[in-house]
């Protein structure tokens, strides 16, 4: 049912796990203990860190770089994005990178592999992108930001920003634990306090 790549000597238990039906290019870098599940596809120029999980049917392409402890759930499309440590993509999220998508060039010929401009998305550490959200090319999602289900994000989201809707609107702030902060920027669940900084919120001592 599944296969495990040849382990590095002395690090048998650290070998990544790749389901048999997944297609991981030989040139792709997959970090220790990362699990890649059924029918996922990882292209050759992709780098994936340690302890990540790629769910069923995930496609990671176009030189995407994924950090450690990243969770990408079923059916996501990651095109060229940088995803920092501890970020999460819920099922069906798409991170896009072509700001002017066309099948053909102005002369009418089918566009080729290098026939377009890359403007990839950046997902900062700890951020969560809700199910079926779409992130437009060039957008940066701040640290520990929370993007609600089905949101279409066309502009940068600040650290800890909570956004939802189409187009996305910021309706509040999210704690590291994932809950919405109250009016005083205090988490009602874990009690952590935040302050406004130059790019969103930061945790106070």
């Amino acid at each position: 049912m599944t296969k495990t790549p040849a382990p590095t000597a002395g690090h048998t238990s650290d070998a990544p796990f790749i389901a048999e039906s997944a297609e991981v290019a030989d040139a792709a870098h997959v970090g220790a203990r990362t699990r890649i599940w059924h029918h996922a596809q990882v292209d050759g120029d992709v780098r994936i860190g340690e302890d990540c999980v790629l769910g069923k049917g995930v496609h990671v392409a176009s030189a995407a770089v994924i950090g450690n402890r990243v969770k990408i759930q079923d059916g996501c499309g990651v095109f060229g994005a940088t995803i920092e440590d501890g970020a999460m993509l819920a099922p069906g999220v798409y991170l896009l990178e072509d700001p002017a998508p066309r099948a053909i060039n102005p002369a009418g010929h089918l566009k080729g592999r290098d026939d377009w401009r890359r403007e990839p998305v950046t997902i900062r550490s700890g951020a969560t992108i809700g199910a079926n959200a779409v992130i437009a090319p060039g957008v940066t999602i701040g640290q520990y930001a929370m993007v609600a289900v089905g949101t279409v994000v066309g502009h940068d989201v600040p650290d800890h920003g909570l956004v939802m809707g189409n187009p996305a609107r910021q309706l509040g702030w999210a704690c590291r634990c994932g809950h919405r902060l109250d009016d005083n920027l205090i988490c009602p669940v874990c009690g952590w306090r935040y302050r406004q900084g130059s790019n969103g919120l930061f945790l106070t001592a």
């Binding site: 609600a148 909570l162 939802m164 809707g165 609107r169 910021q170 309706l171 509040g172 702030w173 919405r180 109250d182 009016d183």
Partner: protein, 83 residues
């Protein structure tokens, strides 16, 4: 504030009552949106409702600082004057 004194419902007060389910007369100028149990989705609904009814866009950076009905009224006041 003056509309409250006259016992009339403001656009914001009415919208808050519709979304929260609280009676309009229990929502005063100092009532906090969080007291009404509004979550983030409710706040989005509120923003869209007020924009539709006033015809004035409510910028996210201003909306996010709204805590009370009074804050909301202040945000909407220029639109009410120009209407």
């Amino acid at each position: 504030m003056s509309t409250h004194a006259l016992g009339q419902q403001t656009v914001a007060q009415q919208a808050l009552a519709e979304i929260s389910g609280w009676p309009t007369n229990t929502i005063t100028a100092s009532t906090r949106l969080s007291e009404l149990g509004l979550d983030s989705l409710d706040r989005l609904t509120l923003a869209v409702l007020l924009e539709e009814r006033t015809g004035r866009p409510l910028p996210d950076d201003e909306l996010i600082s709204v805590r009370t009905l009074d804050d909301l009224e202040r945000l909407l006041r220029p639109a009410e004057r120009s209407a």
